[in-house]
């Protein structure tokens, strides 16, 4: 990476350390994917406890996000705020995580109470931490409490030691601290691959949209790199707890460490998928070549790429930031996976990028990505079609510990407020936040890192900024609610959902907020018209969120499910589900754990955890119908210019679907008619979905459903009964 780290410097950092607590343990040998132990650390009183993972926990909550939700549920009460000491950060990899044969099996799930939503949030992240944690003998790591001075936590999975150490001199920004700690804990260059660091950054401590970086050592580039747990501000919680980093060291990764019941089957499934990716990736989604960035031009072609705060879906200058341009910047032909055995290898890096702004200006750095979401969030959605800006912003977001999606959606909202005269230079401290102003967008991010000026306001996220603008500057709440692209307090991820009713639900009827990891139905719904009726859409909004939840229980990545398809997938009865790959997952789970689920039971496993998370939201004061209301910008055109940009389509829909002649009506009248129709459609979809999911009209899981799922614990019933 960029900085020149001397042995002397590392020695100095290490010498300033003070051990606050040490703990020795016998690392558990994994059995059928589980260590059967979890690690609890309280940094208020420096206690470290080994807990048993019970069979019941494994049956009901499976692992990963399920374990995280269960531990957090027991840690907090309905009044717990994100910055209360009892809030936890739980990291859990899941029973399949750590296998090396099947692509996408190195994920960790992070769960906490979010600063932006006030409720429970989960984030799925790559890197080597989760598998190393499990190989070190822990199915989950719970961190509770708040340190009174800066600390790091170090787990040595070979020696069986854990320490909490005061760490005054380590950097906070990720690209520096991962180098410092990788250097400090590795005994040789060869040993660096055995280190993984969780860290955040300076902007995380001055905003609510902080993220966590999970490192892995890139053996070819000879540098640590990071993947992000981006959504929901967990990095902010991390820095509020005064944690600089969590480090795990584990030497000895092999393909059989999970001690699965049927290694041969896992190997067969892995080879089969490797062959598929070898044969078809180049002609399907090109993940190996460009990662997720190929979506930039696809979304632009289908009018789905957010431009200027989700007003428009395409732009003539998109070619400047599309994957053809990105390909010229990223280094090619490397096996770029974020965990062993991932032949999908979507991780990408730009080598030797020279920064033009900020505290590291002039330095040559390695940039992870850029992912599609980042290109759209800090590029097109801000009206900025400049790839160097996107890369620079990507680098700073990662090292400062800020979620590119939330940053982009928030900045886009601020730019629209600025152009609508709700904001002005006086309020922004001189920043001219117009669409396309890349220098202002970058400065806003640097201010966030320094905790200064308007950057501090921007770091609050869309929901809290709306409240502030209404309270302090007398802004009109309805307009802000219409254009502020947040739901539940989380900023939208980067897809235009206006022309896909199913995706409007896929965003707003989620557990944690509008992130597309629950459902991405736009092509099924809008392009291929495979789910025309309300019942079809509701079925999709049942099946896909449940199916995708399952990845988070297992420690798996979603991409190898449907970003590669078998040759005959289009000829199957349900190509959108990729039936052969669903069967792969059933067999993977059974081969690791020795259980005997089928594809129906796979969905039930998810349904238990999904409904538990819904009830967790209810416990925290959310999780009801009113919280599933989308901002109108995600449903239809808010402004005149927006209507005009798709006038033919909207006029035609008015005539054919609504049965009203558009002739002679003003644009304002037409916006109103369109809005009434679209909001009614959403309401009908919502009720159909709630019914399909086993929920009341107010979105509360019914007692019958809770009992059928086997999650009718007294404390669950106590929460639900108040609302039935």
């Amino acid at each position: 990476m960029s900085c020149i780290l001397t042995a002397e410097h590392v020695h100095k950092i290490k010498a300033a350390r003070k051990v606050l607590k040490e703990f020795k343990y016998e690392p558990a040998k994994l059995e059928k994917g589980y260590a059967n132990k979890s690690l609890y650390i309280n940094i208020s009183n420096n206690s470290i406890v080994s807990k048993d993972v019970t069979e019941k926990m494994k049956d009901v909550f499976i692992g990963g996000k399920g374990f995280g939700l269960w531990y957090l549920w027991n840690a907090v009460n309905p009044l717990t705020k994100w910055n209360d000491p009892e809030n936890e950060i739980v990291i859990s990899p899941g029973p399949i995580a750590g296998i090396t044969q099947y692509p996408g099996a190195g994920k960790s799930l992070v769960v906490s109470i979010s600063p932006t939503t006030g409720s429970v949030v989960d984030s799925n992240v790559g890197g080597h931490f989760g598998p190393f944690l499990k190989f070190s003998g822990w199915d989950a790591l719970e961190i509770q409490g708040k340190a009174d001075r800066e600390v790091i936590i170090f787990i040595d999975g070979n020696k069986g030691t854990i320490s909490i150490e005061e760490a005054p001199l380590e950097s906070v920004d990720t690209h520096l601290i991962i180098e410092e700690l990788t250097e400090m804990y590795a005994e040789s260059d060869e040993d660096k691959r055995n280190i993984s660091v969780v860290s955040s950054g300076t902007a995380a401590q001055n905003s609510y949209i902080g993220l966590l970086n999970f490192s892995f050592y890139d053996k070819r580039r000879k540098s640590p790199r990071v993947k992000q747990a981006g959504r929901g501000g967990i990095g902010t919680v991390f820095r509020d707890k005064k944690i600089k980093a969590i480090v795990v060291k584990f030497n000895g990764v092999k393909g059989d460490l999970n001690n699965p019941v049927d290694l041969k089957k896992i190997q067969e499934l892995g080879i089969k998928l490797h062959k598929e990716i070898h044969d078809f990736d180049a002609i399907q989604t090109q993940k190996r070549e460009v990662g997720t960035a190929n979506l930039v031009e696809i979304m632009n072609d289908y009018d789905l790429l957010p431009v200027n705060n989700f007003k428009y879906g395409n732009h003539p200058e998109t070619w400047k930031i599309d994957s053809k341009q990105i390909k010229k910047k990223v280094t090619q032909n490397m096996p770029d996976g974020c965990w062993y055995g991932c032949s999908m290898a979507c991780a990408k890096a730009v080598d030797g990028f020279i920064l033009k702004t900020g505290p590291y200006k002039g330095q040559k750095v390695l940039i992870d990505g850029p992912e599609y979401e980042t290109v759209a969030a800090v590029g097109s959605n801000l009206g900025i079609f400049n790839l160097d800006h996107v890369l620079e912003c990507n680098f700073y977001c990662d090292t400062y510990g800020v979620d590119t999606i939330s940053l982009g959606t928030t900045t886009a909202f601020l730019m629209e407020c600025y152009e609508s005269n709700i904001l002005n230079k006086e309020i922004t401290g001189g920043l001219e936040l117009t669409f396309g102003n890349k220098d202002a967008a970058m400065e806003l991010l640097h201010q966030m890192s320094r905790g200064e000026s308007f950057g501090k306001i921007a770091g609050l996220g869309v929901r809290k900024i709306k409240e502030l603008l209404v309270k302090e500057y007398g802004a009109e709440p309805q307009f802000l609610n219409d254009i502020g692209m947040e739901n539940k307090g989380m900023e939208y991820s980067q897809y235009i959902s206006k022309e896909s009713l199913a995706q409007q639900g896929g965003y707003a009827m989620t557990n944690k907020g509008p992130q597309h990891d629950e459902a991405w139905l736009i092509f099924m719904d809008m392009v291929n018209n495979q789910i025309p009726s309300f019942e079809d859409k509701a079925e999709a909004l049942h099946y896909f969120p449940m199916f995708r939840t399952w990845f988070g229980l297992m420690g798996l990545c979603k991409l190898p499910w449907n970003d590669i398809e078998p040759a005959n997938n289009r000829q199957t009865s349900e190509p959108a589900k990729v039936p052969e790959h669903v069967q792969n997952y059933v067999e993977l789970f059974n081969s690791v754990t020795g259980k005997t689920i089928n594809k129906q039971e796979l969905i039930v496993q998810s349904e238990r955890v999904y409904n538990f998370q819904r009830i967790f939201n209810i416990k925290m004061g959310f999780g009801q119908k009113v919280h599933d209301n989308p901002p109108y910008r995600s449903v239809g055109p808010v402004t005149v210019e927006e209507y005009l940009s798709r006038q033919d389509r909207y006029d035609q829909q008015m005539k054919e679907l609504i049965g009203v002649a558009p002739d002679g009506k003003t644009i304002e009248e037409k916006i109103k008619i369109t809005r009434k129709y679209r909001e009614d459609q959403y309401e009908e979809l919502r009720q159909t979905v709630y019914k399909r999911r086993g929920w009341t009209e107010n979105g509360i899981p019914t007692l019958e459903h809770i009992r059928n799922l086997g999650i009718d614990f007294p404390e669950v019933l106590e929460v639900v009964n108040k609302h039935l």
Partner: protein, 139 residues
Amino acid sequence: MKFLDKNEELCTKCHLCEEVCAAAINKSDDREKSAIRIDDEKDIGIINVCNQCGECIEVCSEQAIFKAKNGVILINKSKCIGCLICVGYCPSLSMIFHEDIPAPFKCIACGKCTDECPSGAIFLKEIIDEEQVAAGVAE
């Protein structure tokens, strides 16, 4: 570089090469543990064996696969973490995997099977490449 070449028209599908190979590289009498494979069902592509093309080198995240000075592609088994990407990514599907053996294996052009082949269908061939010249192992 040295590699195992073939003249399939001469192959009688006697499978002797598989027995010799399994014994030589995996000390086994199980033909499934051979790095050369004879397909009874086929008339073309009967003999499947590594041609030392080296595409597997780049896909290995652990850098466990390398080209020896004589041009033969070898696997450092202690570095292998068993991800099997090389097996799925071999263009001729000649990287072999067997559940009893921790790391994948392949033809190392040792020539033991060619010595025993009764029909002369397989034989060692050596071509000089520039890399070898540069490495000082060929002229």
